[in-house]
Symmetry: C2
């Protein structure tokens, strides 16, 4: 009954998609045909959201309209904030976000409709509110009062504002805007794929986004972001980077394949299921990180990262991935380690929404398992079991 | 880069699994080698939970131990009940459940560990508490106070108790126990598959189960359960069943393939992505429904279902699926229509947990999309777009 088994569905085509193209051999990434490097350096995140949802870059009136809609949708509904106030302060930001999205779904006037217009309205609200939820949780868990989002400004600027309670510098705001663009979509990685499996049952958008957030949390996926910064801080000084990496890599070479696959034995920020060469986003992020730290003068973590980068390229043939220099950028912006993956979610909600709209017109995703358990056997009542 | 594209991943083997075997051609279903019909008629749900998690049926001491652990874990933590009290009363029970599971995850002492022992403890708590959450929400939304679960009795008995506030009859309790056994697992259907995609990133069990619940909600998946009862009640009388089905089926035959695929144009309870012949669970459920209604004397919905069953087998070659006679059983037990899929979740949590434990030892699930969008194109700044 079944076609060839590919462990982990590696290289199996699960869906057709017109949103994002990834060329892992050449290190190319594009949204709707536009190279990610052009979008990151020349567009704004709001333009990219429009592009992902409607397939074309917006005209000026279209851009004004979507920016206005997103800004208007930013304030969190009262029940969401009330609920967030009750979460244990030690909760991981993605646990808080997963729950807040589940809560807001119960209050969404379009919750029960999967028509395209309803899904667009829900996507607008979620894309506007998820960054605000992340900011609100950051403040709540530190015992501070959440701040209401600005009535103006970009999504990225508002995200920084809701975290810090202050208007950010133009450089910080533009950096965060680029981060949002770079993280807006990436074909059907695990969180998007889990979300598409959910949507394919015709479940509602909030259920699907809750699934995506829960999936993103895994350390083999978005969670790797946070591990990078922990590693760089553990290294502590650029002079120790080469030796640290050489030793870890050497230790890895003595492990079995199974041991190497364990998250704790990987070098976070390196290797990718699709890219065979460096992730095209990493170059943009490295340049952003360089600019940011040259402004502040606090270059240590960036310098450690550059040494790790050089050493990894010397000792291994693994490509660098998007998480590596993202972590350095987040650190330079003063963002706490365990908030990094939530920023990923705050930007990726736009891509998840685009994939949901596409999947609502597609088939149920229902592969098979190959059964490897015991053969048919006779039932024995409990009184006769030994 | 990619192997053959199979729309919807139909017949593609995504994982190896030793839990459940489905033979769609012969209409066979077994857990760990035991035929579902033997388990439903001779085992208890607690035995099946043990079987799914440990691979073997329990001895008497092992059964006592797991029953004791499940019973002890039943009372809902206070923050979960407090949160549920704030949900809008019109929320779908699966929205309430999705949120309650997300909340309880933030309070679970093992939330951050994916070690097998920690996952087993979390699975025990979730398997014990999800039926109680479903019961609590049913009472809360009707303006009644939730009742604390019993300190004794089976999971199924406790589920009925937390819905009704009364001890159930032995026939009702045994019926619900069989319902729980029949719904405990079903290979990698959409909710289990979404959950395995989540787990494959090494995310935590609560995130993965939240994803599963959100996926189960889709009308192409668990939600179909509820559509069956709506259809039977709409038919209203056994004498109208044949004509109703003949007309709907005739109308379908005049539709395009795309129109026929829409949920509103399907006959709920019929057709299955895997079974080519009648689902083996349907026969057990039909017999359960017959017994239940012969006790109460209220046979109308059962009689309608039998006529629909006969007519569908006459006019179509679709197999009946698990949802069809489940709906009749739920109706006979006095369970509200929109609670049906939550019962599915209340039982399936045991199978989801077994699949999670298996997937924690497996690879990332990361297929590819085939890109069908625009070719590479030049970025044009917004001021120059028309």
């Amino acid at each position: 009954m079944a076609v060839e088994f590919k462990a982990g569905l590696k290289d199996v085509v699960a869906v057709n998609s017109s949103i994002t193209a990834v060329d892992g051999d050449q290190g190319l990434l594009s949204y709707r045909g536009y190279d990610i490097r052009d979008l990151a350096t020349q567009a704004t995140y709001e333009e990219v959201v429009y592009l992902l949802w409607y397939g074309e870059l917006p005209t000026q009136p279209q851009l004004r309209e979507i920016s206005r809609e997103l800004a208007a949708a930013r304030p969190l509904p009262q029940p969401v904030l009330a609920s967030m106030r009750t979460y244990p302060k030690r909760a991981h930001p993605l646990e808080a976000l997963r729950t807040a999205v589940s809560i807001v779904g119960m209050h969404d006037p379009d919750a029960a409709s999967n028509k395209r217009e309803a899904t667009l309205r829900k996507a607008t609200r979620l894309t506007a509110q998820i960054p605000v939820m992340v900011g609100a949780w950051q403040r709540l868990r530190e015992g501070q009062e959440p701040v209401a989002p600005l009535v103006d400004g970009s999504a990225a600027e508002n995200f920084l504002y809701t975290v810090t309670g202050r208007r950010s510098t133009p450089v910080a705001a533009r950096t965060m805007d680029m981060i949002f663009i770079l993280h807006a979509d990436h074909e059907i990685n695990a969180s998007t794929f889990a979300m598409r499996v959910a949507v394919a049952t015709f479940t509602d958008l909030h259920s699907a986004i809750t699934a995506a957030i829960g999936t993103l949390k895994g350390p083999r996926h978005g969670g790797a972001n946070e591990d990078v910064l922990e590693m760089l801080l553990e290294i502590g000084d650029p002079s120790r980077a080469a030796r640290y990496i050489e030793e870890r890599w050497e230790a890895r070479s003595r492990m079995t394949k199974e041991e190497r696959a364990k998250p704790e034995n990987r070098i976070p920020g390196w290797g990718h299921p699709v890219y065979k060469v460096d992730d095209p986003r990493a170059g943009v992020l490295r340049e952003m990180a360089r600019k940011l730290v040259s402004e502040t003068g606090n270059t240590k973590v960036f310098d450690i990262a550059v040494r790790v980068f050089e050493t990894m390229h010397r000792v291994s043939d693994l490509p660098v991935n998007v998480d590596f220099f993202s972590a350095v950028v987040y650190h330079a912006l003063g963002i706490p380690i365990d908030l990094c993956t939530s920023i990923f979610a705050a930007a990726r909600i736009s891509g998840w929404s685009a994939h949901a709209m596409e999947q609502y017109n597609d088939k149920l995703l229902r592969p098979r398992a190959h059964y490897t358990g015991p053969p048919p056997r006779q039932f024995v009542p409990v009184s006769q079991r030994s």
